[in-house]
């Protein structure tokens, strides 16, 4: 029956369906198409910027894929991993371990913290099934409070910090910015390569490729299959003998650990940590970028990640100067890009919820018809 309706669809409907499914990316292509000429940036500058930002952000965005697979929606709790990564970096910065070894050590340090935070987050999300997103979003704020407590009050008196250059003048707590000068772009420049005047961070892209391969491989493993089953239908998977709660927790832990690695990569590119704000926006921007790539709350692919990161950051680069050219006020563009990020998330969430409701009402309708048929049969 499904096939029949599919083949009956006219080309117009198909195109309509394609446009409907890809509203957000198409909107973004249009915005970029308008803004690029207005901004007046040269293609080589744009290419350079995009490649840099791709290297910086892609790893972080990829970590969102796993919870989506497990049906837990957009993991706003990826901020937790970002905080773990920052704590790892602060400690390595204090121990003055520089360059690649420092990065590796920071990643290793972030793992236990990420696992612990991911475990907490997963347990809480299991208590709030059906409203995972809003809960993970509040968890990110809650843990941010704990993070501030640790970094602002415990670092110094409880967790030893040797170098006063890291500490606030009062003697405890970490300064607002921690310089990572000795680590800055060490990974990006590990294998130098320049194409068309654009510096390509080869080593970073290699890491991203490894993660992509890992995700592709992981989908095929027993655990990956379990996660997809849980994402499809929790009740059915439970009957099939899958430990639903455990699978969901593992998916969140994996996402958190990967986000910790991603944050270390992100910050080595930036070259400094804004101790109290680096992580706060990261979740929002990563999620917006993923959605721009055409992902939805229950379905996202690696392709979505790459398309999203390109389009989203293209808009991010050109919007301020295009806005300045149009209105004579540079702030307009800044606000515009923030507005667009939020609007994209809003639109994607609304589309997902309406789709879910429509499917639900269709199912109810089907059930009603079936019952009607049954009663007719019974009457006969």
């Amino acid at each position: 029956m499904m096939n029949k309706t599919d083949s009956n669809k006219s080309t117009v409907q198909k195109i309509g369906g394609f446009l409907g499914a890809n509203t957000v990316p198409i909107m973004f292509i249009l915005i970029c198409a308008v803004c690029i000429p207005l901004s007046g940036f040269s293609p080589s500058y744009l290419l350079n910027e995009i490649v840099t930002r791709m290297g910086r952000n892609t790893f972080l965005i990829l970590c969102l894929l796993i919870p989506i697979m497990a049906g837990m929606g957009l993991n706003f709790g990826m901020t937790l991993g970002a905080m773990a990564g920052e704590i790892g970096l602060i400690l390595t910065a204090d121990w003055q371990i520089v360059g690649i070894p420092g990065m590796v050590l920071a990643m290793i340090l972030s793992i236990p913290i990420s696992i612990l935070l991911g475990l907490i987050c997963g347990k809480i999300l299991n208590m709030a099934k059906g409203r995972e997103m809003v809960t993970s979003y509040i968890i990110s704020y809650f843990i941010n409070g704990v993070y501030q407590f640790v970094v602002l009050y415990l670092m110094g008196p409880v967790i030893p910090i040797k170098h006063s250059s890291l500490k606030l003048p009062r003697g405890y707590g970490i300064r607002n910015t921690v310089s990572l000068l000795d680590m800055r772009q060490k990974l990006d420049d590990l294998i130098p390569l320049t194409v068309f005047g654009a510096k390509i961070p080869v080593a970073t892209f290699l890491l991203i490729a490894v993660l992509c391969l890992f995700i592709v491989w992981f989908r095929k493993t027993k655990l990956g299959q379990d996660m997809r089953a849980v994402g499809q239908d929790m009740e059915v998977s439970k009957d099939a003998g899958i430990n639903v709660e455990r699978t969901r927790i593992i998916s969140i832990i994996m996402s958190t650990v990967l986000a910790g690695f991603g944050m270390v990569i992100y910050l080595q590119n930036m070259g400094n940590i804004a101790t109290y704000s680096s992580h706060s926006q990261i979740g929002m921007f990563c999620i917006a970028a993923l959605l721009v790539g055409g992902a939805s709350v229950d379905r996202a692919s690696i392709g979505n990640v790459f398309l999203g990161v390109t389009l989203f950051h293209l808009m991010f680069i050109v919007a301020p100067s295009a806005g300045a050219k149009l209105t004579g006020d540079s702030m307009i563009g800044e606000y515009f890009r923030v507005f667009v990020s939020y609007a994209v998330i809003t639109i994607a969430l609304v589309m997902y919820e309406t789709k879910k409701r429509r499917a639900k009402s269709r199912m109810a309708e089907q059930l009603r018809l079936d019952q009607l048929k049954e009663s007719e049969v019974a009457e006969q």
Partner: protein, 356 residues
């Protein structure tokens, strides 16, 4: 043996009472009580502290009250509060722009913001009706998008009043606008009671009582009961012939309008209009305040609003002074973040109140 059993039942009853009241709420109330006891001991002036708490209560109470209608109709916690705040801000800025001064400007602001609140509320309600079940997340993002959209508008809209625009450019509103000469403290100074260091903003509190009574009365009318029915049992409500979508729409419009009035009251107490990113995080404190007061995702009363706002604002005002005097360390910000978000988490994860 018998005695033992009796003890057991007493313990059970205690546990039941605690579960009923909510452990986090008990801890928070105990913490605030401790702060009140500690404050004179560490050398803080208790009357000043109390009047600060009451003052802040009076600024915030209506914003918290704005949660009630939406919770009643089953739309969940109104994370989209910034949308209502924006209509309030439009009313405030237009009232100043149109040249109203003094107490009149306050009422002009309310009147002007009302149509905005109704229009935005209708749109917001329509959206929430399309996505029943996912209200809270989308409400959050509707709030965020509208705040960032208005950031552009504050710069672009043709405001001219020299008290509000940037002096140099002559256009674009300032980030904070002083209300001196307009409605600064217009309610607070009405019948203000001063006893030593203790001062009570009677007017603001009376205004809150007036609005709260209005809401209470509304919830007891036929429409109000229908609204509660929609929230507690939609299937029953539909069977009883209540138009669910219309009720939800009405509740959203009411919440939005209350948020608009709430921000105006907040401004008159604070003395400034805050624009741009200021409304961004205003939803979270209001949400956690009503939860601290004993509300849940689908149940909230006026008493919850009063208790919750008092507890929340009490902690926000008391911790910095007491902490500073005690250990010379200001941890209030961290405590505020953990308490308010912890409270929201607690409400979201309670098993009995999971989404139907």
């Amino acid at each position: 043996m018998n005695e033992n059993a009796e003890k057991q039942s007493f313990m059970d009853r205690c546990r039941e009472a605690v579960a009923d009241f909510g452990l986090p709420r008990l801890i928070i109330a105990g913490f605030l009580l401790l702060l009140f006891i500690l404050s004179p001991l560490v050398g803080a002036d208790l009357p000043t502290q109390i009047s600060n708490t009451i003052n802040r209560f009076s600024w915030n109470a209506i914003l918290v009250l704005a949660m009630v209608p939406m919770v009643h109709s089953g739309c969940g916690l109104n994370f989209g509060l910034p949308l209502g705040i924006i209509s309030g801000l439009l009313g405030a800025t237009l009232s100043v722009e149109l040249g109203f001064t003094g107490g009149l400007s306050f009422f002009a602001a309310i009147v002007i913001s009302t149509p905005f609140a109704i229009i935005l509320g209708l749109f917001y309600g329509w959206l929430l009706n399309k996505i029943k079940g996912g209200e809270m997340m989308i409400a959050t993002y509707v709030g965020f998008s509208s705040v960032s959209f208005m950031c552009m508008m504050w710069l672009l809209l043709p405001y001219h009043s020299p008290n509000m625009v940037w002096g140099l450019a002559g256009k674009g509103l300032r980030t904070t606008i002083s209300l001196e000469g307009y409605y600064d403290k217009v309610l607070a100074n009405f019948l203000q009671i001063n006893i030593g260091n203790l001062s009570i903003p009677t007017g603001t509190i009376l205004f809150f009582i007036l609005i709260a009574l209005g809401i209470w009365a509304f919830l007891h009318t036929k429409t109000g009961t229908a609204m509660t029915a929609v929230g507690s049992n939609p299937v029953f409500a539909r069977a009883a012939g209540v138009n669910i979508d219309k009720m939800r729409m009405l509740s959203v419009v009411m919440s939005t309008w209350l948020a608009a009035v709430g921000i105006l009251v907040y401004e008159q107490g604070f003395g400034f209009i805050q624009l741009y990113m200021a409304p961004f995080y205003m939803a979270l404190p209001a949400v956690s305040a009503i939860l601290i007061g004993g509300a849940s995702v689908n149940k909230a009363s006026i008493a919850n609003v009063i208790i919750g706002t008092f507890l929340f604002q009490g902690i926000v005002t008391m911790t910095p002074t007491v902490m500073n005097n005690m250990i010379h360390m200001d941890m209030s910000e961290v405590i505020r973040i953990i308490v308010s978000n912890g409270m929201i988490l607690y409400a979201l994860t309670r098993k009995t109140e999971r989404a139907k």
